[in-house]
Symmetry: C2
Subunit: 190 residues, 2 copies
DNA sequence: TCATATGCTTACTTATCAGTAAGTAAGCAA
DNA sequence: TTGCTTACTTACTGATAAGTAAGCATATGA
C-alpha cells in the first residue's frame, strides 16, 4: 500500500512546480518534463495544450495549498507564534532543495508571464499577504508580538525577508537564511 | 556637446543591463538587442562571442558601479542615514522602470547561469552586503541607528526587503514598496 | 599607396522551443 | 460488436535560440 498512483497529469504538475522554483518559467521546457517521466513531449500537450495552461494550474495548486494552510492554522488552535513558524518553515525547506519560493519565481519572471497567468499571481500574493497579516494582527492583540507598523506592512517586511532570503541562500549559503529567519522572530517578540 | 558617442559595444551593454532587470537572463536574446540598435545579430557576437561573455561584462559594470558608490560615499562626508538613503534610492528608481534589481534578477536565475558568471554574482553580492553592513556599523557607533542584530544580519534584512520589495512592486504596485522603504528607516532610527 | 585592423553584414548552421496533426492501443459503455 | 473516449506516440511545423564563417566597407598607419 501507499503506492504512488503515478497519474501522469499530476506527475507533470508536480515536476513543473519543482522546475518553476529551481529554474524559473523561461528556463524549463516540456522536454525537461517529458524526459523525467519517460514520455513524449506531445503527451504533455495532451494534458496541458499550452505552457500557459500548465503554469496556470501550477499557480492554482499553490493557491489552494495556501488556502488549506489557512484553514488548517485556523482550526488547530496554535498561538500566533507557532502559526508564523509554520509559515517560515515552508521557506526553510526550500533552502535544502536548491529552490526559491514560487512567489519569488513568478515575481522575477513577471514581465514574461502569459497575461492569463498574471491575475493568478496577484491572487496568490494577496492570499499570502492576508494570511501573514492576520497572524501578525492576532499576535499583536494577544500581546505576543510587538511591532510599530500596520500589520500589512510588517507582513510585507517579513515576506520580502523570506522570499529574497531563499534567493540569497542559493548563492551565499544556508547560514544567511537561518540568520534572517531568527532575526524575523526576534524582532517580533522582543 | 554632450552628444552620446553611441559606441556600439557600450550600447549593447546598456541595453543588456536593462533587459536583464526587466526580463531576466533567459528571457532576452541577442535579437532583442539587435532590434533596438538596428544592427544585425552577428554584430553582437562580434563584441560578445557568447551570451555568457555579455552577462559577465554586465556583472562587472555593476561591481565597479558599486565600488565607485562605496568610494563616493566614503569621500563625501555624509552621515550614515544619508548613505543608507542613497542606497535605498537606487532601488526606488527601479520601481518606475518596470525593473527589478540586478541582484534579484541573477539570484532567481542562478541555477541557469553559466558557471563562469556565478562567481561574479557572488562577488557583487558580497560587495553590496559589505557596503550596507559598514554603513549600519557606522550608524550604530555614532548612535544614529539602533538595532540588536549583528550589522551583517541587519544588512541582510534590509537588502532582502529591498530586493523582494521591487519584485513585489511590479505586481502589487509602488505603494507597497514605499511602505517598505519607510519602515526600513523607521526601524533603524526609532 | 598598399596593407592591415576594425566593425560590421550576409548568409548560414545546429539546436531547441512551443505547438499540431494524425494515428493507435486499450478500455469502457450500450 | 460497435462506437466512443482516454492517453498516449510518431512525425511533423514554424519560430527562434545561440553561434559561426566569410566577405566587405571604412579608417588608420607604414
Amino acid at each position: 500500500m501507499n503506492e504512488k498512483p503515478a497519474d501522469t497529469k499530476s506527475s507533470i504538475l508536480s515536476i513543473a512546480r519543482n522546475l518553476m522554483r529551481q529554474l524559473g518559467y523561461n528556463a524549463f521546457s516540456y522536454a525537461d518534463i517529458a524526459r523525467k517521466l519517460d514520455i513524449k513531449n506531445a503527451a504533455i500537450h495532451y494534458h496541458y495544450p499550452a505552457k500557459a495552461d500548465l503554469l496556470a494550474d501550477v499557480m492554482e495548486t499553490y493557491i489552494s495549498e495556501y488556502q488549506q494552510l489557512g484553514k488548517q492554522l485556523a482550526a488547530a488552535n496554535l498561538d500566533p507564534c507557532q502559526k508564523l513558524q509554520q509559515y517560515i518553515a515552508k521557506y526553510s525547506v526550500l533552502t535544502s532543495q536548491d529552490s526559491i519560493c514560487i512567489i519569488g519565481s513568478v515575481a522575477s519572471d513577471y514581465n514574461t508571464l502569459p497575461e492569463s497567468v498574471k491575475a493568478k499571481v496577484a491572487q496568490l500574493i494577496n492570499l499570502v499577504i492576508g494570511m501573514v497579516e492576520k497572524t501578525l494582527q492576532e499576535g499583536k492583540e494577544e500581546g505576543v508580538f510587538r511591532f510599530p507598523e500596520p500589520p500589512r506592512v510588517r507582513a510585507l517586511l517579513i515576506m520580502t525577508n523570506l522570499a529574497a532570503g531563499v534567493q540569497l541562500a542559493r548563492i551565499s549559503g544556508k547560514a544567511d537564511f537561518v540568520a534572517i529567519e531568527k532575526a524575523i522572530v526576534d524582532q517580533l517578540i522582543k
